[in-house]
């Protein structure tokens, strides 16, 4: 799948309008195959897989040794009225709302998943009942960026 295909997949699959507190007009910024992973630091692999927990914001991409390889990364930020939402949770769901993974949002509202390639649903939960939901596409060796506004 090309980068252009991928961007249109993400922006065209916004389900946020059905959720309370979500702003369908500003939930998706489009996919961006970020080049930041080329700076990955092979020396910082120690913390990546020792445990099983999800640190706030998700594990850093730079924790992955060498290049992105066959990792299929989905990452982004959650904002409300332009400010980061630092208390809340991002959940990745599969077909039929099957739970796949969840991370607490980072201080900058950030989240990151290392998914299998394919189509996923991203759901965000935040205090005061705020929620948002949208579809994302993950591909091997690529970072799919998703911006969510509550």
């Amino acid at each position: 799948m090309s980068g252009a295909d991928k961007a249109s997949t993400v922006s065209g699959a916004n389900k946020a309008s059905t959720m309370s507190g979500a702003n369908p007009a500003s939930t998706v910024s489009g996919a961006n195959k970020a080049s930041t992973v080329s700076g990955a630091n092979p020396a910082s692999t120690a913390s990546a897989g020792d445990g099983c927990g999800a640190p706030a914001g998700g594990v850093s991409v730079t924790s992955v040794a060498g290049t992105l390889g066959d990792q299929a990364v989905v990452e982004g930020h959650v904002t409300r009225e332009g400010a980061p939402v630092s208390t809340g949770y991002a959940r990745l769901l599969g077909t039929g709302d099957e739970f796949v993974a969840e991370v607490p949002l980072g201080d900058d509202g950030g989240f990151r998943f290392f998914a299998a390639p394919g189509s996923w649903t991203l759901r965000v939960l935040a205090p005061q009942g705020l929620r948002a939901e949208q579809s994302v596409q993950a591909d091997n060796g690529q970072v799919t960026k998703v911006e969510v506004a509550l």
């Binding site: 990546a48 640190p55 990151r112």
Partner: protein, 280 residues
């Protein structure tokens, strides 16, 4: 034992903040969450630094557990209320661990840190001081813990419950999707295991589903024979501690063990059978 003997809600926790007989403990792998804010009077236990042996792959021994609890100011008479992030995975693991070492008065906070945060309840950065104690643990209760040889021998004979995500179970992923995909040498699951992801036992806010729903989930949907002994496993044993809590503590099944070696051990063993794809 009933649900109220092992699980309490946030109102109960709030009412017992400052209760001298109740030690509130946040257990996480990422303890920066505690440092940013925790339930008032809660102390922290670091799942990795405090509960795991620093050299061998094992958890701290009886002496280490006694030293930890004494240093944190927890006494044998205290009621310990555990909560944490990751939908209480590590708090459930700690709960299992307290039971292994013979501490009876342990409770889990339903929904853990997530529900507390989503409900916008009070969090503080104040770190309490609890006077040192002289905690005494019992020997490990072997009836709660499965080791690898027992797991291999249980194939086809006992209920094996793999609580990882379907993608990990079938072999598409080696780790949960919030982690880079590395670790075990081989993907897949233990033959004859049923896949009941831990998440099916929890609501979206991290609370446990009702007992009847849970019973139906394991008995009807997954086809678990409740008259058989059961071993639960995941990747490193904390998600399966969550399921162990459901089966042993909430549903009251008598013989349920947690295999804390889990897939990072089993998937790297030489010569053991592995199944790929859907459960057979």
């Amino acid at each position: 034992m009933s649900r109220s003997d092992v699980l309490v809600d946030a109102d109960w926790a709030e009412a017992h903040i400052g209760d001298p007989g109740v030690a509130i403990v946040e257990v996480d792998e990422d303890t920066s969450a505690y440092d940013k804010g925790h339930i008032p009077t809660a102390i922290k236990i670091d799942w990795k630094k405090d509960l795991q042996d620093p050299v061998r792959r094992d958890f701290v021994d009886k002496t280490g557990f006694e030293a930890l609890l004494s240093e944190r100011g927890i006494s044998n008479d205290d009621t310990v209320l555990l909560y944490g992030g990751n939908n209480n995975w590590f708090a459930a693991y700690a709960y299992w661990y307290f039971k292994l070492y013979g501490h009876d008065k342990v409770l889990l906070l339903d929904g853990g840190r997530k529900k507390w945060e989503l409900d916008s309840r009070e969090l503080t950065t104040d770190v309490p001081e609890r006077p040192r104690t002289s905690y005494t643990a019992t020997e490990q209760d072997a009836s709660l813990r499965a080791l690898r040889d027992e797991v291999v021998a249980a194939i086809g004979k006992r209920n094996l419950v793999d609580v990882r995500s379907p993608d990990e179970f079938t072999g598409r992923l080696l780790a949960p999707a919030h982690l880079p995909q590395e670790q075990a040498q081989r993907a897949g699951h233990i033959p004859t295991a049923r896949n009941v992801p831990w998440s099916k036992a929890a609501n979206e806010d991290g609370t446990f589903r009702a007992d009847d729903d849970l019973r139906s989930l394991y008995a009807d949907d997954a086809g678990l024979d409740f008259s058989r002994d059961t071993i639960a496993y995941c990747r490193i044993g904390e998600r399966s501690a969550h399921t162990w809590f459901v089966l042993h503590e909430l549903l009251g099944l008598p013989n349920v063990k947690n295999y804390d070696g889990s897939w990072t051990e089993y998937g790297s063993l030489v010569g053991v059978p592995i199944e790929l794809g859907e459960a057979r």
